[in-house]
Assembly symmetry: D2
């Protein structure tokens, strides 16, 4: 599977499709998250470590980490499907490994098994310091289902 994942950007049409959907997710903008990379099977979402998304210790809230990770996984899957498809999260599991500190977080989804109906992804979230140093702060696994997009 790994070879389907490329660091190069997706086609302009795919990027537009992902960006348009992201822009409709008002939670993401509300959290200050932005799409940093849209490649085939690989999407980075970057939330800032700003006060609105912190928990009681000043780190990024586990829930915000999860929300962003979940979205990254879903959009990464979406890049692999045609434009008639949408993906919904069936379930996910996440281990919170370290306080989600740093200049920003980077959430990465990797396809373990693509499928006509179900897609399974590995999710990794790294805390990234201003100097670029990275630390794995959460790791998860996610099952997504592809559904047909409702006619406009």
């Amino acid at each position: 599977m790994e070879d389907r994942i490329q660091r190069q950007p997706a086609s302009p049409a795919v990027r537009k499709r992902v960006q348009d959907s992201f822009d409709l997710q008002s939670l993401m903008s509300h959290l200050g998250a932005r799409l940093a990379h849209i490649g085939p099977g690989l999407v980075h979402i970057v939330p800032p470590a700003r006060p609105e998304v912190t928990q009681q210790h000043g780190c990024i809230h586990a829930g915000a980490t999860s929300a962003i990770t979940d979205s990254a996984g879903g959009y990464a899957a979406l890049t692999l499907f045609d434009e008639e498809s949408e993906v919904l999260t069936v379930e996910y599991k996440i281990n919170l490994l370290a306080p989600a500190a740093g200049h920003h977080l980077e959430a990465i989804g990797t396809v373990l098994k693509p499928g006509r109906t179900l897609t399974v992804r590995r999710l990794e979230v790294h805390g990234v310091q201003a100097d670029g140093a990275r630390k794995l702060v959460a790791n998860g696994q996610q099952t997504l289902i592809r559904v047909s997009r409702p006619a406009a």
Copy 2:
């Protein structure tokens, strides 16, 4: 375990401790969530279904659902510990069963196994309509670890 869970409110001291911690979680206020019930082993957190927490279909974003559910589980565990303790989420798994629609969501945590170090909780999220009709929209399981509160 179930008999440790009571619908009656926790003591004023416990309720204050949970509310104080909640008030420090700026993500929660940012999402418009509030604590609706604090009982021994049982905490309800109610987020409104407002635009800032929705996904592209107008339902509450899975990530917001997760964030609130995770917090409900943690605070429910916290009610069972003394004031020197804090709880951190080790991991959780959640199945998203139906679109999280409704007037508001209600997240409920139930202790499956309390422990000196680890606590395991079942998490349920219900969509509640204005007329009180309820539907299970997500179900999960969460492992928490108790740690000593850092000295002030």
Copy 3:
């Protein structure tokens, strides 16, 4: 959902279908497991606590517990479908809460959400003593997919 689950037995045709499939699972007989109850949406599988399924402390091995629990969930789902259907496990998550000791184990699956494609179940495993005393030793959540049975 809960009202679809009944303590009364399933129809003879459903029970035969589940028993026939179970008999083909040589792992189950190899572990000494037997079907103790087949009701609509509810199947009990009882493994004996015998030496071949124990771990290094003499308790039932977590893997055997999981194998039996997974099967109980799958068969419980199968009782709800027509005879052209089979169910496969997509994923599951299990928390091992206490050593799986006792005279036998009882694995119970409960439907949280039945669906045309996916079914989500809660899984509970109890250790049962010779005098009938019960203790929750594991708790899980499982996603199953329905597929058409290959033509014979």
Copy 4:
């Protein structure tokens, strides 16, 4: 973390400790599983695809896959601890990606986060054909807790 995992064997003392514990797990020998590699943070357990561990389609039963995977994760963690320690599985989640077919299975555990109390591991199971071709058949994530070994 990854650099703690080495393909070279563990010390003779560590290998003996892991092998001795494995030999006490009668489920493992009952399933025909054997330890194929014991390295620091990395253990391979190889079950044969023999009739006793199959499900109704002749593939290796998901439960046997899980049991072996769970053990591989636990022993891999054990290699990193001193001889006074034991590890117990707190919980795990596994996605079954493909039928577990092949000449044998290979279960691999990788440390994501080692810790004094909790260790989190990624679990991968590959089906290996007689000619060495490999396919990822299951992927999981596991949380383990270290406990002191009871005095003999």
